[in-house]
């Protein structure tokens, strides 16, 4: 990791000593030029604003997951239709170094705000999130995505994600269209999820 400003260095160094995990998450002061030139139009500079419901929010997303996904777009392994159409050309020219910088930038932004959602859907989604659906063999989402759905490592943060994006991705997993490296796990999870249940978890997660 390269620090951007000399001034923040002592502070970061102290943090790095005390809490190695946090030091990685320390926000660079300014967005990488690539973010402004190539990503802002759709994801916003800070990743909390997305300009269309099917574009994911990137703020506070797991850094490792962001790196994985940008590589998966670049090598073509994440190949659902919007990935091909929008993200392949964007990622094609990114270097590993740029990917790391971008991932650091978005992962260290303030998380997005919760979205409003129908209370009944939220309650039903909460249940699925905590306990899964036993009789269908759907595992509890929290076992991988974390009790608050904050994600970690290869497990993406889902809290505050756009509901429309979550619904779309769950359908892509279920039909197998999204089949990047770690997607097999989600194929299993979504195999027996109904459209109704997808709406419920999407409402709950976007509402967090």
């Amino acid at each position: 990791m390269r620090l951007r400003t000399a001034r923040s260095r002592p502070l970061l160094a102290a943090l790095a000593l005390a809490l190695p995990g946090l030091a990685l998450a320390a926000a660079p002061a300014n967005p990488p030029a690539r973010v402004q030139a190539s990503c802002t139009m759709c994801h916003g500079t800070h990743g909390v604003n997305t300009r269309m419901p099917y574009i994911p929010r990137l703020a506070a997303q797991s850094r490792v997951y962001l790196i994985e996904q940008l590589r998966a777009f670049r090598d073509g392994s994440r190949s659902d239709p919007p990935a091909i159409m929008y993200m392949w050309p964007v990622s094609e020219v990114l270097t590993n170094r740029e990917i790391k910088k971008i991932a650091l930038w978005y992962s260290s932004q303030k998380p997005p705000r919760p979205q409003r959602a129908n209370a009944l859907l939220v309650a039903a989604g909460h249940k699925i999130f905590l306990r899964g659906i036993l009789k269908k063999g759907v595992p509890a989402c929290m076992s991988c995505h974390g009790p608050q759905a904050l994600g970690d490592g290869i497990y993406p943060r889902l809290a505050g994600q756009n509901a429309a994006y979550i619904k779309e991705q769950l359908r892509f997993f279920r039909s197998g269209i999204r089949h990047d490296k770690n997607a097999a796990i989600m194929h299993m999870v979504t195999a027996h999820l109904s459209d109704r249940e997808i709406r419920e978890v999407a409402a709950y997660l976007s509402h967090l």
Partner: protein
């Protein structure tokens, strides 16, 4: 300067043809240099060109500056304290070539559009050739700059803008929102707009130079489409994107237009249909629109207005005529996630109040006040970016005025209304085949129910509206 009645007639004739003709002129579309800059296929920003998708609207609102390829190159200068220079390595140039072949039911192609063609199945290759410089100039400045070679044999300025754009994020109780804002200089009212329900971008997106569609009486703001009037506008716009998914957009644009000088061969140098002089002061233009976006659907509703005073003669003094235009428009769009199927529908209505100052010495004696209305509704589909089609109805109605539409205009007989009425309505059907995203072939048919006031014998010489029905084969290549 004074005109003899004969000269005035000639002016009327030439400018009516040119102004109305230019309105229906094939207009700007998807530009390959935007694709070169972003790496996105045309389909990311367009359905059938130049119809924009919401992503295309954002790209334009952000000043055409989004880029994935061809990073701006910093040119190092060894002199201190000079302004920075960062430019594209590759110049964003594009070319359009359009061709057409036209057949009019009742013949007499020489009466329509730019005149000249006397043979059925009039072929134009090129119908027009456009050169574009389209893309970013610096990180906040971009341009859509458009020169066109027309059938009349010269290059001229076509609808263009240069814009500076920026945005701020605003924390609101609802979450976050974004304010996009920009300033631009352009040469066509509604050119800076991002919906296809306004005159400069309305359907049909292409038609032949010899189509009687081009001679329909139109309002001032419609006649200016495609830089057909010598206007230059300075404007500003903001788009406020709000709501928890930022899917509510409010767009406000204002411009001030004034006659430009030295604009080029392709544009006519007089205003509207009547050889008028330059603008008096400036003509304000105001636009308000609201859009909502859902994963597959988006819809827009908007309003616009423009108030133009122009001198009655080329001398920039003396009495003026006034064109007050205002309108409503709406657009609904359906897109699949990969845009492999799309449907877009538009409806618009524009009303114009014309205050004429008669110049009796020039035998120009219209009613003191005329109104002219234009309404249309149309829809287009595109499947797999390969097969497309469109259907639209239009209706023009207004005050009968023999000076403007009647027997004493000096127009060709097919463009004369015996009753002096502008009333014209009809439909257009189009089928499109895209051999590639940048190579389109269309078959277009327009049928007129009424032409200049009547279905039968509208010009008093036995010509029926149906004799103006027209079939065109159109080709468009972009690279």
């Amino acid at each position: 300067m004074t005109f003899s009645p004969r000269l005035l007639r000639l002016l009327v004739l030439v400018s009516l043809a040119a102004a109305a003709g230019a309105f229906w002129a094939p207009r700007a579309r998807a530009v390959p240099s935007f694709a070169r800059q972003t790496g996105w296929s045309c389909a990311v920003c367009h359905t059938i060109y130049p119809q924009l998708t919401p992503i295309g609207r954002l790209f334009k609102l952000e000043g055409y500056t989004t880029a994935n390829y061809g990073a701006l190159q910093e040119l190092r200068q060894h002199i201190r304290r000079v302004a920075p220079l960062a430019i594209s390595r590759v110049t964003p140039l594009s070319v359009f070539i359009q061709a057409s072949d036209t057949y009019i039911a009742g013949g007499e192609l020489n009466q329509f559009g730019s005149g000249g063609a006397t043979q059925q199945a009039a072929v134009e290759f090129p119908e027009q050739v456009s050169l574009f410089y389209a893309g970013r100039i610096s990180s906040h400045i971009g341009t859509f700059y458009h020169l066109t070679y027309t059938h009349t044999g010269g290059f001229g300025q076509d609808d263009s803008d240069v814009r500076w754009a920026n945005h701020v994020h605003i924390v609101s109780p609802d979450g976050n929102s974004t304010l996009l804002y920009g300033a631009d200089i352009n040469n066509t009212p509604t050119e800076p707009d991002v919906w296809n329900s306004v005159p400069d971008w309305d359907w049909p997106f292409e038609s032949s130079n010899y189509s009687p569609l081009r001679d329909i009486p139109l309002t001032f703001i419609q006649q200016s489409a495609g830089a057909s009037e010598p206007l230059v506008g300075l404007g500003g716009y903001t788009a406020y994107l709000f709501g928890q998914e930022e899917n509510h957009w409010l767009y406000i644009e204002t411009d001030l237009y004034r006659s430009g000088v030295g604009i080029g061969a392709g544009t006519n140098t007089t205003f509207g249909a009547f050889g008028l002089g330059p603008t008096h002061n400036v003509a304000p233009y105001l636009r308000l629109a609201y859009e909502e976006n859902y994963p597959h659907w988006n819809w827009e509703i908007g309003t616009l207005g423009m108030d133009t005073h122009v001198y009655t003669t080329a001398a920039a003094s003396g009495p003026t005529d006034r064109f007050l235009d205002y309108g409503l428009d709406t657009q609904v769009q359906y897109l699949t996630f990969d845009n492999s199927f799309s449907f877009t529908a538009h409806a618009s209505w524009i009303r114009e109040i014309e205050d004429w100052y008669p110049v009796r010495s020039l035998s120009f004696d219209p009613n003191p006040v005329d109104t002219l209305n234009y309404a249309d509704i149309n829809g287009q589909v595109l499947w797999r970016h390969r097969y497309g089609g469109g259907l639209g109805f239009f209706d023009v109605w207004g005050t009968a005025d023999p000076t403007l539409y009647g027997t004493d205009t000096g127009n060709p007989s097919a463009l004369v209304s015996a009753s002096g009425s502008p009333n014209t309505d009809g439909l257009t059907i189009e089928m499109d085949y895209l051999a590639a995203q940048n190579a389109e072939f269309s078959l277009q048919y327009s049928r007129f129910f009424r032409y200049l006031g009547a279905a039968n014998d509208y010009n008093g010489l036995g010509r029926n509206a149906s004799q103006n029905n027209v079939v065109s084969l159109l080709m468009w290549l972009a690279f």
